[in-house]
Symmetry: C2
Subunit: 160 residues, 2 copies
Amino acid sequence: MKEIRYKPIGTIHSPFKDIEGVPIQPTAAEGVAGTVEIKPKYADGLKDIEGFSHIILMYHFHLSEGYSLEAKPFMDNSLHGVFATRAPRRPNPIGISVVRLVRVEGRTLHIEGVDIVDGTPLLDIKPYVPEFDAAKVERIGWLSEKASKVHKVRADDRFR
Amino acid sequence: MKEIRYKPIGTIHSPFKDIEGVPIQPTAAEGVAGTVEIKPKYADGLKDIEGFSHIILMYHFHLSEGYSLEAKPFMDNSLHGVFATRAPRRPNPIGISVVRLVRVEGRTLHIEGVDIVDGTPLLDIKPYVPEFDAAKVERIGWLSEKASKVHKVRADDRFR
């Protein structure tokens, strides 16, 4: 398989018009409201989604150009392999965020905890289910002393 | 943005040669071992990944053909919107699994908790960080009484 082709199923809207200032992760974006607009042709796929308090959004980092195999993440000043970071400039620039689903109005999802730039193309939505998606970790590598900083740090322009 | 193009960064290997019999989620695949082979050109992106006990694999459901907007998941007999399920036949057939990273040997990752078919093209790896990826849910919709069944149910051929 040489190339894989996807089409956006919708668009994510948020208060963040640029990369700079975007919260680094949904945990740092608590209460930040946004919407997801699903294209009409995919609307029937939303049936029963309102039963879930949290959903996983998968999206294309459309503002990322190219990639580096090593990256200095927002929360560190050392270089790490890109797959050991959440940096957006990745070989396949796919982003993932777990957000709260507040309510559904037709093909608009009202969400909270949005750490995503306005206008981001949406690739997929999955229900968030702790039994599937939560793991008990022993180690979080270079993030060990830094994960809690996520509440304070905001993105700068390094991945523009 | 009309079309998004990605290239596999590697391949996932597992004991499952076909969809049938694959555990439905990593929690049901406890102890099932597999490997991830990263292509040489992306190997430098693995630096520091060994520090993480769990990683998120994002991959292309290469055996899924076409999609349905409503699906009967393995654990239910009712139709639900595909975005309220984890069914592989999705508009953009992207899969996600949180697996345990056992050890790294060059560009081979030894993993456990594999619910993925052998030969699956890998799109991305991210470090799993509870602070980013775990949510406290209030509702898991139609899965409320079914999520615990995941340990018993195995995939059949309905998404072949």
